[in-house]
Symmetry: C2
Subunit: 245 residues, 2 copies
């Protein structure tokens, strides 16, 4: 399973297009992932046109992968299709609530990962854009997502034009717990994060950001309380607007 074990995020792509049939086949194969009650609570919006990429780009904070990848996929939690089918069958669809949102988001993310594995196995490179959750309303408006759908993840997709180093990962002891969760002692935390903290590139981030340590780079520069709280409020508003709260 080299496609998972050897994977790295790809941010530079060749110009080659991805044939529609190839994409459709991968999207169908990925649907073999587990899905709640076999309901397949997701949809995928394919962006190929330059015009749409141009509009999508600022919603992902101008990350260049959006404009440079031949294909951008926005994976959406989708209870709209299932609900419309129920209504057409005179069935009372009670999926306009928070549990149903999380169920559909779960389906979607399992599907995303299955798709990425298959795409990478087929020689494609992927970049997961977590920014989808930062400004969901802009994406909802642009892609015309109806009520009971919600953008969850965006994947930039193309043939790799780079072969970056694999990033570090924590040792499995960092996240593995036997029978119950054993919380972390200060000493364990030092051990778990030691390798990451000593990496040349991370020491450099600390230096250029004029911080005391790597943790402060995360909290003060990359993922700040202020941004997280503002974006949480926007996310909750968007969930209400889409009928899930």
């Amino acid at each position: 399973m080299a496609s998972i074990v050897e994977r790295r995020t790809i941010r530079k792509y060749k110009k080659d297009d991805i044939p529609a049939e190839k994409l459709e086949a991968l999207l169908f194969q990925a649907s073999r992932a587990a899905t709640m009650g076999n309901m397949q609570l997701y949809s995928v919006v394919v962006t190929r046109s330059d015009e749409m990429k141009e509009k999508l780009s600022p919603l992902h904070f101008g990350q260049p992968m959006v404009k440079n990848a031949p294909v951008v996929l926005t994976f959406c939690a989708d209870f709209n299709r299932f609900t419309k089918w129920c209504e057409q069958r005179n069935a009372d669809a009670g999926y306009d609530n928070f549990l149903s949102f999380l169920n559909a988001a779960s389906d979607t993310l399992l599907y995303v990962q299955a798709f990425c594995t298959l795409a990478e196995e087929a020689g494609l490179g992927t970049c997961y854009l977590g920014t989808t959750l930062y400004n969901p309303q802009g994406i909802i408006d642009l892609l015309k997502l109806p009520k009971l759908t919600f953008p969850i993840a965006t994947i930039a997709l193309g043939y790799p034009d780079e072969q970056p180093e694999q990033p570090d990962r924590l040792p499995h002891l960092a996240y593995l717990h036997e029978e119950t969760y054993r919380d972390y002692t200060p000493n364990q935390l030092d051990i778990i994060y030691y390798f990451k903290e000593q990496l040349e590139e991370n020491l450099n981030f600390v230096k250029i950001n004029n911080k005391e340590n790597l943790a402060q780079v995360f909290t003060d520069c990359r993922y700040t309380r202020k941004d997280n709280e503002a974006m949480s409020a926007g996310l909750i508003e968007a969930l209400k607007g889409q009928g899930f709260l």
Copy 2:
């Protein structure tokens, strides 16, 4: 990639145990999945003891996989580890909010699917228990999950002792949209769900439940408005209790 394309949920397992080293290797390999800012916002609680399976079982509504699988894995969104590390480094960790929950849940679900693919490629069978989100507080209490963690998915894992038929899946046209979401016409919905509605086993579900059609089996028997609304309230309370709302 037979492990995805040929996959089916496995609910019956051989008695054979899964060696700790094998499980650890799979859990580490799966960590190659995309993760936000390389933070790996998840933990896994491994249940092997009969005593814990006995207690976990009712929290999953008595589904027999919990007691019959040699290993049960509860995958948790985890901002506790990262936050504790930040605090130890005098960094202001602002991850006690809803966006951070969804970011950690996303990391977790990508990790779950990567793990399942690798496990299945290694000859294991998996069953995804969506019930994890139905009664999270019971699981939080039993597994002693601290604040800023949350149970997201449970996987029953073991060597397959059955080879069930593959279930149906919707055609890719059901969930694929070009450039913008095109909502469904009544005729399209009839086409999308026709195959599923005509399946012998589904016709039988309609009959034994004394319903007019398959959609009503879903809305009146399997996933009812009443249950969804009650469980949504419990889910939101648990998120508050864990510090994410």
